[in-house]
């Protein structure tokens, strides 16, 4: 099976006044994958997403959705994706069922089809019991679910999620992740922006890290983590008098410098096998240690390494 691209972005650029909000960004999103756009606040994630979803006109560059240019074939391109924005944008004043009905009709479903789809989605997102209540009484999680349900009315093959779990409690967040995974299983392609690195790690097949409007890195979470640096060995030396000796011993075993914070030592390992000689040497020198931990690189490291603070 050949994998086709769901989205092709080339040289996308957007200026706000003199500030380059998005600077010559190019990437592809393959069909059936979860693509994560990562970046600090104000990096240009949402601006990029708004251009991909035709809400914002790009100053330069091109976006193709399933081969259709978003400028020349805007209406067709719009019919191919669903969008869930950063804030739940559903009508507060009307019920969940009415929201779904209206959006189904606006998406071009006939009245009976809209009715059927509404019932299905209410069931799928466990909203049946509150279907006819005003949204004012909905919890944040219910709103997000309804919001996502609205963008799934046409079963789009491509779904954009802008920070889908921001502000959700841990349980609702896990539910949202399950929903997203379920969608992927059904064959949807998903583009999501997030500030939560564990979310990206959990869900995304491919990541693009954006900072100051520029694309700084793309790759799978594993690739990115590998590039940034391997496993770390962390431990605390129990007696402060032994810290100096411990640093010397460890330094003899590894290539990198040993990081020391008080009595805590941390060192980068190129491979796991390096851990054993270090621990043996410490044991022979009668240096007692505690809080021993082997730390796998996290996306946090990748993120902090690749993005620079605004100031």
């Amino acid at each position: 099976m050949t994998t086709k691209n769901a989205i092709e972005v080339s040289h996308l650029t957007k200026k706000f006044g003199k500030k380059l909000a998005v600077d010559d960004v190019s990437f592809n999103v393959r069909q059936g994958e979860v693509f994560g756009l990562l970046g600090p606040n104000g990096a240009g994630k949402t601006t990029t997403l708004r251009m991909l979803t035709t809400l914002l006109k790009a100053d330069a560059g091109q976006v193709k959705i399933f081969g259709h240019d978003t400028v020349k074939e805007g209406r067709l391109a719009r019919s191919l994706f669903g969008l869930t924005g950063q804030y739940a944008v559903v009508d507060e004043d009307i019920s969940a069922r009415q929201n779904l009905m209206i959006f189904a009709r606006l998406n071009g479903l006939s009245r009976p089809d809209a009715k059927q789809r509404t019932t299905e989605l209410l069931h799928e997102f466990s909203l049946e019991n509150s279907a006819d209540k005003a949204l004012k009484d909905f919890s944040g999680g219910m709103r997000r679910r309804l919001d996502l349900a609205v963008s799934l009315i046409t079963r789009p093959a491509l779904i954009f999620l802008d920070e889908p779990t921001t502000g959700l409690d841990p349980r609702t967040r896990t539910q949202m992740w399950d929903t997203i995974r379920h969608l992927v299983q059904q064959g949807s392609t998903i583009v999501l922006t997030t500030q939560y690195l564990d979310e990206a790690d959990q869900l995304a097949d491919n990541l693009a890290i954006i900072d100051h409007g520029k694309l700084v890195k793309t790759g799978t979470p594993a690739e990115l983590k590998q590039q940034i640096g391997g496993t770390r060995l962390n431990f605390t030396v129990d007696r402060s008098t032994q810290v100096g000796a411990a640093v010397k011993l460890v330094a003899a075993q590894v290539a990198d410098a040993v990081q020391q914070t008080g009595q805590q030592l941390s060192v980068r390992l190129t491979q796991m096998a390096q851990a054993a000689p270090i621990l043996t040497a410490l044991n022979q020198a009668k240096i007692t240690i505690s809080q021993l931990a082997v730390q796998e690189p996290s996306l946090d490291d990748v993120f902090l390494n690749l993005t620079v603070g605004k100031n």
């Binding site: 979803t53 944008v89 009508d91 009709r105 609205v150 079963r155």
Partner: protein, 257 residues
Amino acid sequence: MDVQTHSGNLFMNTATMAYRNLLKTVHNPDRFMDVIIQPVMFMLMFGYLFGGAIAGGVQAYLPTIVPGILMQTMLSAASGSGAQIREDLDSGVFDRFKSLPMAHVAPLAGQLFADSLRLLMATVASLTTGYLMGWRPAVGFGWVVAIAGLAIVTGWALSWLFALLGLLAKSAGAVQSVSLMTMLVLSFMSNAFVPLKSLTKPLQFIAHLNPVTYVITAIRQILATGSWTHEALLVLGVDLIIVVIFAPLAVWAYDRN
């Protein structure tokens, strides 16, 4: 499984959007305040409060005040559409509408269509209250329908103006305060509640510049003579010009947003 869709046409999309606006009104009874409670309250209050002082009695005052309150209500209902549009824009729901494969102006058109129904409700509320207070126009029901139509057309034309204001303004609060001021100045600085002759010269001058004065004069003339007057035709003409100018501007502002 695929979901069957067909690209909706402008008419269908507009109807759905109008339905949405009406649902919002039904779920939010406070939106009825300005179109039902306000005209009833003002009609009763102003009628019984000023009737004696201005016209020597409530009955004698009714031919003056009924068209006056009617137009004031139209202005306030029309100004509501600006705030409503701003609220929608701020909530981000228009972004979602824009990302749908539907006619681009449908949200705006739907709003304005729903507004015309609000204007109709406001007109019925005003005129019914007048009737219950004893207002009996001599020209008959047909002409009452005609002036109701004239008032609604004028209110609708003004909705476009307020819609543009809503699209250009920074916040719903700003729209509301500007709308309220406009409504108060335009309705009071006119012949809506007092005879023009009773005003000082500078105030008369302002009242003559006020378009509301012409609409009210047109309505009173129709009710007095039972025929279309030049004034009425002039008002219709100006309404048309307002729509021709401000509807495209509103669509432009909407696209820009």
